[in-house]
Amino acid sequence: MNEVAYTPPRGNGLLRRIRKNKMAYAFLLPAILLLSTIKYYPFFTSVVESLFDWNGVNINRFIGFGNYAELLGDEKIRVAFANVFKISTATIAIQLTLPLLAALLVFRIRNGTLQNFLKVGFIVPLVVPMMVLVLLWRWMYSGDFGLVNQLLEAIGLAGWKHSWLGDPSTALWAIVFVGFPWVAGLPFLLYLAGLQSISSDLYEVADLEGAGPIRRLLSIELPLLASQIRLVLMYAVLQAFQLFEAPYILTNGGPGISTITPALHIYDQAFNYGRFGYASSIGVLLFAVLLALTLVIQRSVKNTDKID
């Protein structure tokens, strides 16, 4: 009896601390309720239902790893992941060069008015809805009178006129091409913010040492932009692997299945075929792939070293 009484009152202490902080839990309540009902509950449903033959209405039958077995043999899955792999490679190549170039240029402009104008100007397209951009490009690609083909004709390349979205060999790249020259966007903003946070002392030292612009880029700017570069990489991968709007509007995965993406496949299986269980298993696969890629990027690209 005594021994029990003398054990440190951990449970009680915890309870007391919980009771003392009950206001804290009250303040947490809205967010916890919102996230659990709207986000986490569906997430766990997704994992569980990926083991079921489920149509969202009356069929809900446990089939073990049946959906995953089907994934392995699904030609559309293979093409979809190959496509987003190509798209993310292209996106990474683009976003590590052109927006960086633009940010470096804008950063080096001496004329304050022009610099401010371009700073804002390159950000404006970020505010235009993605869907507007996609629809605009659909219009520019369309048919013989589409602007892309008209432009080719105007510059004497009429022979290059092409049904860009209708040909399996060009459709995927036509989708990547949306947003050309890919300068105005979040990467530009991140690079510019990164450049602006570099201490001017470093530049003065570089000047004293007689370092040219290339030397400065390689020894100061690129190393100090490592954090931003990592972020841009992660964004590029996350976005490319979940690409939906552009292929949905421009090609709907076609011609054939040449521009299908995992997101399109999930949408199609769930909402056109009522195969919610199978669609959930594609979602889980996508989650696993993205998690793995995120970890690889975080391990392989270091954050900027702190310089004091």
């Binding site: 569906p42 869907m131 939906f244 995992p262 999930i266």
Partner: protein, 270 residues
Amino acid sequence: MRKGSLSVNVTAVALFALSMFPFYVMVVSAFKHQMQIYENPWMFAAPFHFDNFSEAFRQIRVPIVNSLLVTTIGIAVTLTASATAAYAFAKYDFPFKNLAFTFMIMLLMIPGFVILVPQFINIKNLGMYNTIIGQALPPAASYTAMGVLLMRTFFEGLSRSLYEAAEMEGASDVRIFSRIVLPLSKPILATVAIMSGLQIWNNFVWSLVVTTGDKVKPVILAITTIAGNINQGDGVKLAGYIIASLPLLILFFAATKPFVSGLTQGAVKG
């Protein structure tokens, strides 16, 4: 330093012009009837057809109102949920604090498409299929994770002595929150409001899935089906795209600073 600065300016301006070119063509053609677009797509041409804009507006008027409702409700939900939670994290030291925080931040790791299907069933079961609230809640919940993260940092940056002084005066927790913390946190509230608003207004996939017919159709869906008559042609569509972009553009130019800081901070924290 002077050296090369002309070529820097010229290259930067050229890149900018190239970036703006599609938007330029969109604006030019939005004022034209189909024949004028065929004749010369590259320049403004008289007569200017403002009827394109009135026709496009007629077609997306109701969806714009729907989108405004969805976005307003979504922003309100995001702000309420994130501000209260962030306040709990910033002010109190309570058991399971780290666990609760991880719970909120983990959401950033779950890509939207992974939960698209069960989230649809869930919203349907909650009776929110084809409603305004059903369109607003999931994207609002998504942005709450980021909202909590940004606001916690900001609230913790407010002076400790402020909280202590208020407590000495006998102000209740709710009072400190609503009378002291919130008024001092307008910049971060604006940033979170703008960022969540941007994402909710632009959210295509979720509205595509969770709405049907015209009842609560948002503008982002409506612009995909705008059509002009034979004479007007594509100009009407383009006018509609411009109208759909205007609310965000106006907001951007009215509040450039919170916008830019929201975009950068959101990305860096995430």
